[in-house]
């Protein structure tokens, strides 16, 4: 009887180790950020360049299924995320930031704010993104990121109820140059921290 219990325990332990190690290595457990697996860094905007590629390994497939379900192939769209400001500090709801940039070498682009669960933050501010149609043909643009709309902000992304958040830039139908050499050909927007609420740290 003891022998059977020992055998079942060892097999159970093996089973558990196999399942947990697979989920951990895929980034599905263990609290790893989506961009911690990135292999492309374009001015702080990071992307796992295997996303949308048929050669994606099983770990990446599992990760994309969880964090980017229904993501498109790379030829159609590429995605970059960023969860820190220009000084490397995590993006937080209680701080205010200036996001600035220019055009992108793609048919259309957008930048969207997501909370720590990869969801749109639960607010009703109708200020979730900035995109090429909003800024028109402007060569440069700037937007404010804050939990309440700042006065005189040309564009606003609301971080209300976002907690610690990240930004995702999408480039739809990117040019060949972007696909071939994204680190050189992405025009990476800057994120400057303007200030934080008193008592909330840096």
């Amino acid at each position: 009887m003891m022998k059977i219990i020992k055998l079942v325990s060892i097999l159970g332990l093996g089973l558990g180790s196999g399942v947990i190690s697979a989920l951990w290595m895929s980034g599905l457990i263990g609290g790893k950020a989506l961009d911690s697996f990135a292999d492309i860094n374009a001015g702080g905007w990071r992307s796992d360049w295997s996303i949308g590629s048929p050669a994606a390994d099983p770990y990446l497939r599992a990760r994309v299924a969880r964090h980017g379900l229904l993501a498109l192939s790379k030829k159609e769209a590429v995605y970059f995320t960023r969860n820190v400001d220009d000084e490397g500090e995590p993006l937080r709801q209680d701080c205010q930031y200036e996001l600035s940039g220019g055009g992108q070498d793609a048919m259309w682009w957008s930048i969207t704010l997501y909370d720590g669960d990869s969801r749109l933050p639960m607010n009703t501010d109708n200020a979730l993104s900035i995109d090429a149609t909003k800024v028109g043909g402007a060569e440069t643009w700037r937007a404010m990121i804050a939990p309440v709309k700042p006065q005189d902000a040309p564009y606003w992304l609301s971080s209300n109820h976002a907690g610690q958040f990240d930004l995702m830039i999408r480039l739809y139908r990117p040019s060949k140059a972007v696909l071939d050499d994204p680190e050189t050909n992405i025009n990476p927007p800057r994120i400057q921290r303007l200030g934080c609420q008193q008592g909330s740290g840096a």
Binding site: L7, I10, L11, L13, G14, L15, G16, S17, G18, V19, S21, A22, L23, S26, L28, G52, P54, P58, Y59, R61, A62, V64, A65, R66, H67, G68, L69, L70, A71, L72, S73, K75, E76, M107, W108, S110, T112, Y114, D117, S118, R119, L120, P121, M122, N123, T124, N126, L128, S129, D131, T133, K134, M168, R170, Y172, R173
Partner: protein, 181 residues
């Protein structure tokens, strides 16, 4: 010593198999859950449904774009292998039809309104092992689904309430239905 070695071997074999199985099964489990949720919300099989304008309150998948309008058609070839006729009406701005299998793979994407072509983007979606019928329109693409179930997603650029209202009108012409003889 031999007994210890066998125990270690058994542990490693079980762990390795469980590791591989979990990796392989995870995308299918996630897709299955997503499709189940869609069905619970009333998305039927073999029919496009335009999702509500994406807001924090209406989001159904992770990282949705609030600037895009999404029309979804779930397909299932397990009961009938009749090919599906997929059509997406012309949209002047960005538009695409993307196909996802039951393991979440985006196995094909067709562009809407390429080079100003105002005809609907047309696709004949078929189960594996099914031959395409003769005399199909020459602008139709024929695509084979790697799995029996999956979903088709039309994305259209609609960053404002006004453009989303236009999508509501245009999307009435979208089609996702079994081919009639």
């Amino acid at each position: 010593m031999k007994k210890f070695f066998l125990i270690c071997l058994g542990f490693v074999l079980v762990a390795f198999t469980a590791h591989k199985f979990t990796l392989r099964a995870t995308p299918s489990v996630i897709m299955n859950k997503a499709m189940q949720k869609m069905q619970e919300r009333g998305v039927p099989i073999h029919k496009f449904v335009l999702g509500e304008r994406t807001t924090p309150q209406t989001q159904t998948v992770v990282r949705p774009s609030p600037d895009l309008a999404y029309s979804i058609c779930m397909y299932d070839f397990t009961k009938s292998k009749q090919p599906l006729e997929i059509k997406a009406a012309y949209w002047r701005d960005y538009g695409s039809i993307s196909f996802f299998d039951a393991r979440t793979n985006n196995f094909s994407t067709v562009r809407v309104g390429v080079d100003g072509d105002e005809r609907p983007a047309s696709v004949l979606l078929m189960a594996q092992g099914i031959e395409a019928p003769a005399n199909r329109p020459n602008n139709e693409q024929q695509i084979i689904s790697p799995t029996a179930r999956g979903l088709v997603l039309i994305r259209r650029l609609a960053p404002s309430a006004e453009t989303y209202a236009r999508v509501q009108m245009v999307s009435k012409q979208d089609k996702c239905q079994p081919l009639t003889e």
